[in-house]
């Protein structure tokens, strides 16, 4: 058996010829070096199964040879050689099968590639496990969400109904007392308190439903005209209470988001701005956009009673009513709902305030959160 020859010995890759019987016929110097062998004569005639790892041997028999027999060639096959000294060496090989079922091999070591592949597969397996875990958590979260939805329905229907009936009964009792001309100032006062407290209960129920609903998944892909949202909120407010606040504002752009949530968001913010100066509320709505025109910051400034620095820290916490509980209506949930909805839109919210002068709430929202093109006229 003669070696492949001096020319192939100069090549920086392995060359080998394997017989039909899967025995080594010939190879070059590079291959001999990998196999830790001095000359071809030392290994010629050896079965290929003796020169590879056991896993490689199974792989060759069960996958690579069927492919060679079917397609005539196999490219970029990763295998593991086993040298005569017992060392394993990863190689990448191109193999061609000839008509007589002999095969020609060209290969090179690929220690780094093998290492990289090992790491890559490890990362993939980790990712796969995480994907599975994510799927499991997602299923659980969906179940919780549907439970929450059922709870919210129960809250708004099963709670609001009885509360409304209690209020009606109190109002009937008051009417009866008045009709009968009954002088009962204490009873009037007590029923008045009961009525007021039932109103608080209604506010709380509505607030709680709003707070919970803010968590529910909604479509954030709608085109929402903020200008229209503000106008709608002000007109709704006007129908409830004819006292018009003085509102100065700039024209707001169109953004992408959930119309329903943005409506509640600005309704709560504006009601909050009006609430703390019911006599002569003045509200200024202004906005600015960043240089990249990717975000908008909307400022809502009021002339209310303001807040201390300490109160500012808690202003978005749920069930926090910072001012004189008896004097100002509300559930203590309005601003926490606002915060949730802002977060749902990948936004941010913060406030500045001076006690006795007023507060300014800033809402930062992405103009185009999911790659939707902004409307040409959005930069009004």
């Amino acid at each position: 058996m003669s070696p492949c020859g001096t020319e192939t010995d100069l090549l920086p890759c392995g060359i080998a010829k394997i017989g039909k019987d899967r025995n080594l016929l010939n190879c070059n110097r590079y291959a001999l070096d990998l196999l830790a062998c001095g000359s071809v004569d030392d290994i010629a005639g050896r079965k290929i199964s003796e020169l590879v790892s056991v896993g490689t041997q199974i792989f060759l028999d069960s996958y690579v040879y069927p492919m060679l027999l079917n397609e005539g060639r196999a490219e970029e096959v990763q295998l593991i050689l086993k040298s005569l000294a017992g060392e394993t060496k990863p190689i990448v090989a191109n193999i061609r099968m000839n008509a007589d079922q002999t095969t020609d091999w060209a290969f090179m070591t690929c220690v780094n590639r093998d290492q990289l592949y090992t790491e890559l597969l490890g990362a993939r397996d980790t990712l796969q496990a995480q994907t599975r875990e994510l799927g499991r958590l997602n299923a659980r979260s969906q179940e919780r969400q549907s439970n929450l939805q059922a709870f919210c329905q129960s809250l708004s229907h099963d709670f609001s109904g009885p509360i409304r009936r209690i209020r009606q009964l109190i109002e009937l009792a008051l009417m009866d007392l008045r009709k009968g001309g009954i002088e009962a100032p204490e009873e009037f006062e007590m029923l008045g308190y009961a009525l007021k407290n039932s109103e608080v209960l209604t506010d709380l129920t509505t607030g709680l439903v709003g707070y919970l609903v803010a968590d529910l998944a909604v479509s954030h892909d709608e085109t929402v005209d903020l200008e229209e949202i503000i106008s709608t909120v002000l007109s709704m407010r006007e129908q409830q209470d004819p006292t018009k606040p003085k509102v100065q504002r700039t024209s707001l752009p169109t953004i992408t988001g959930s119309k329903a949530q943005l409506l509640v968001l600005f309704k709560n913010l504006l009601e909050n701005a009006i609430k703390y100066n019911e006599n002569d509320p003045e509200i200024t709505i202004s906005h600015s956009e960043n240089v990249a025109k990717s975000r908008i910051v909307i400022a809502i400034k009021d002339n209310g009673i303001g807040m201390s620095a300490e109160s500012l820290e808690k202003v978005f916490d749920p069930f926090t009513r910072l001012n004189l509980e008896g004097d100002y209506k509300g559930s203590g949930l309005g601003l926490s709902i606002v915060k949730k909805m802002v977060m749902n839109h990948d936004g941010d919210i913060w406030a500045e305030s001076t006690p006795g002068t007023g507060s300014t709430f800033y809402v930062s929202l992405p103009l185009n959160p999911r790659g939707h093109p902004t409307r040409p006229d959005s930069d009004r």
Binding site: T56, P66, Q78
Partner: protein, 272 residues
């Protein structure tokens, strides 16, 4: 075991069933690893002269319908055996001669036991009922670590050959259906399926089924096959009641491809 939930057309599509030849005797050819029904093409001319041949691809191989793959169903060879029985039922066949290469020998064995009357003759080409050593009673040829190295090697090769992220797609999809085109090489076997198939094959032990085989059986073994040696053929022959063993002077695990004339002759001699 009969599957009433699928129509004949759905089964043909799922397993890319193709019919060749016109003989009155029906022979089903079931491919082995790393390939599809194309691996029978070397013996097809000789066999199609005498038999009606039913060829198919296992789900995940060749032109099968990948979306039918399910991790649970194909976690062991029973899922593949069910598909073989589905095909026999769909064509209203009985007493079929089932020729299975390598792992398909065991799939045919499972199918013949599970569906009596479907398979009358079983021709096992290079079979092994268990690749793992169970010393001292049984020498399957390999230790667990060897087979784990095989799986790792398959994984590494699929990085180059196919979509190595396929397992992730799989994980993310609740229906467990795979979407996407198969790589052209490696006989178009999907990486996820190939690995599941390899696990189902190499880590399983079907030795206990051998004595239950009632089909007339031919075991064709290569004289030199590092995956399934002659003594494994002898073991099967000892345990399958109505069996004969034929050792063919051949190299490797793919008799029907390396020595198609001898393989076809042996099949015809046995099946008539």
């Amino acid at each position: 075991m009969r599957n009433l939930s699928l129509t004949k057309e759905a089964i043909i599509k799922r397993n890319n069933v193709t019919i060749h030849g016109t003989g009155s005797k029906v022979m089903m050819l079931a491919h082995g690893f790393g390939c599809d029904q194309r691996m029978w093409r070397f013996v097809l001319p000789a066999l199609s002269e005498r038999y009606t041949l039913v060829l198919f691809d296992y789900v995940g191989s060749g032109n099968s319908d990948l979306s039918s793959f399910s991790v649970d169903k194909y976690a062991d060879l029973n899922g593949y055996a069910q598909d073989a029985v589905d095909i026999i039922d769909a064509f209203e066949l009985k007493d079929v001669t089932f020729v299975g290469h390598s792992v398909s020998s065991m799939i045919g064995l499972i199918a013949s036991i599970a569906s009596p009357g479907a398979i009358a003759e079983l021709i096992m080409v290079c079979p092994s009922p268990c690749f793992l050593n169970d010393l001292p009673e049984y020498e399957g040829g390999f230790n667990r670590s060897d087979l784990e190295e095989l799986l790792s090697l398959m994984d590494k090769n699929y990085i180059g050959w196919a979509n190595y992220l396929a397992p992730l797609v799989m994980g993310a999809n609740s229906s467990e259906a795979l979407i996407g085109e198969l790589s052209g090489s490696f006989c178009s076997t999907d990486p996820v399926v190939a690995k599941a198939f390899a696990k189902a094959t190499f880590f399983s032990d079907h030795r206990s089924l051998l004595p239950q085989c009632s089909a007339r059986t031919l075991i064709l073994q290569s004289a030199s096959d590092s995956l399934a040696s002659v003594h494994i053929g002898e073991y099967i022959h000892q345990h399958v009641p109505d069996s004969e063993l034929k050792i063919i002077e051949a190299e490797g695990h793919c008799l029907h491809m390396t020595d198609p004339e001898v393989a076809a002759r042996s099949v015809i001699d046995f099946a008539g």
